[in-house]
Amino acid sequence: MSEVLLDPVAVARGLRRVAGEIAEHGGVRDLALVGIRRGGEPLAERLAALLRELEGEAPPTGSIDITLYRDDAATALPNPKIGPSRIPFEVRGKRVVLVDDVIYTGRTIRAALDAVLDYGRPRRIELCVLVDRGGRELPIHPDYTVRRVELGPGQRIEVAQKDDGAWATIEDASTLGGT
């Protein structure tokens, strides 16, 4: 079973809104967007473009791979593939907004916080997500959310980002066996 949560129009509208909120909370001065690989990467780019429209200036963007920072890095994942992190700006003193497609347990964000802090000491770190699906296992919450939905453990969010826009769908885990 698959149910559409956000279609490309809803995603575009929601991103426009959270871009406005990010600007409202301090403009684009000293702002930097860091997408969590790989789902957050294209969203960070889209938010940067929206902020350019709103504020006349795009914040720098980067991406971060959290593989080496996972709390199960040494046990649960034999030989995962590490992707490249790309932080082409000075983190020190910046207001960093982490961007991801889905927040669930919060463990990915915990790892991303550690990863960003190893690049320097930002002034503050905020979090922006496309979908907050509930189910947190750590006291971590997004500052900017396009859509919040409470899902059971048997369900999950699939985000597909294509050239013609992004879709977020709710899937029953049972129908996705083997993936």
Partner: protein, 333 residues
């Protein structure tokens, strides 16, 4: 894979790949590795290379793991490189060298390993003068074993860091011509390198005095030359090996000066290689013997790049064997 995040990506865009990326428990030699496994290590090393260039040169990946460097032969570079690699992964690293160990008191290798095992190390990095020592230990310990050089047999992490350095400079390994020059007969560096480079599709030429060329070089897939010049002709990579002083005193070679005159790499000889050829040396160098200082310090030398690559490659190796040492992966995690 990645299910805990409650998402999958289209197009196989997952953050993990199966255990098959590095299905071995140890790293004992290049010989046992598949081409794809070598590529996995080199690709992982690229990410670790970036870690060493950040403001905080450390990741928490192997927190709580213990790495023991057990060195039965003197080594500064390799031991330091493994030590730094372990520390940058947040592992606890212990160094044991022969001069401070109980080996001088007559304890056998196996007894030493059994004693160390009581300290529950996750990884044992071993250098030993006897070929096959790491294999012997690997079959008798619960820790993952990494060969840091065994006798005249293999030095796999050196070959991997050499390949990493070549790939960064040349963009590829396949199709390159690599000249490996000097005391090939006694060199585990040469042996691991020819095994790796042949698997990756490079051409390897050995050059050295006839007394220092291995009898079975052709079986390893290398061309053999008893003069330096034909081996250098058009080469993309020139790898000079260290001449071991003790061999110069023996029957293998007449004298240092004679060796340098015939087999030393100087500017004139390097001109025979490809115009963009790079010069490598596993260290430590005998300046003025196998390599002229002008070449060692010249613009085509990547000798210090090799040292930097060593840390990244060893981080990748420690990470791969330490995660493997944990046993079966958690299903669906």
């Amino acid at each position: 894979m990645g299910h805990h995040r409650g998402r999958i990506h289209p197009g196989g865009n997952v953050t993990t790949t199966p255990r098959a990326r590095y299905p071995h428990r140890h790293l004992l030699g290049i010989e046992a590795l598949e081409r794809t496994e070598i590529l996995s290590i080199l690709d992982a090393a690229e990410s670790f290379f970036d870690v060493s260039r950040r403001s905080v040169r450390k990741v928490p990946t192997l927190r709580g793991k213990t790495v023991i460097n057990l060195f039965y032969e003197p080594s500064t570079r390799t031991r330091t490189s493994f030590e730094l690699a372990g520390k940058r992964l947040s592992a606890d690293v212990i160094n044991i060298s022969v001069s401070t160990s109980s080996a001088v008191k007559g304890e056998t290798l196996l007894d030493t390993v059994k004693n160390l095992e009581a300290m529950c190390p996750d990884v044992l990095v071993i250098r030993h003068q006897a070929s096959g020592a790491p294999h012997y230990v690997a079959s008798r310990t619960n820790a993952a074993v990494v060969n840091a050089g065994d006798g005249t047999h293999e030095h796999p992490t050196q070959a991997l860091l050499d390949a990493f350095t070549i790939r960064r400079r040349k963009g590829r390994l396949e199709g390159l011509v690599v000249a490996i020059c000097g005391d090939v007969l006694h060199s585990r560096v040469a042996r691991s390198n020819v095994l790796l480079l042949r698997k990756m599709g490079a051409t390897v030429r050995f050059a050295g005095p006839r007394t220092l060329l291995p009898p079975a070089a052709e079986a390893l897939g290398a061309e053999v030359h008893d003069r330096l010049e034909p081996a250098l002709e058009g080469a993309d990579v020139v790898m000079m090996l260290r001449v071991q002083r003790e061999r110069l005193a023996g029957t293998f070679l007449p004298s240092t000066r004679e060796y340098s005159r015939k087999f030393g790499l100087n500017e004139a000889r390097l001109a025979l290689a490809a115009p963009d050829a790079i010069v490598m040396h596993p260290g430590p160098m005998n300046r003025g013997v196998e390599i002229d200082p002008a070449v060692a310090d010249g613009s085509r030398s990547v000798i210090l790049d090799q040292v930097e690559a060593g840390v990244a490659v060893r981080m990748a190796v420690l990470w791969m064997v330490a995660t493997e040492a944990e046993g079966e992966p958690i299903a669906g995690a």
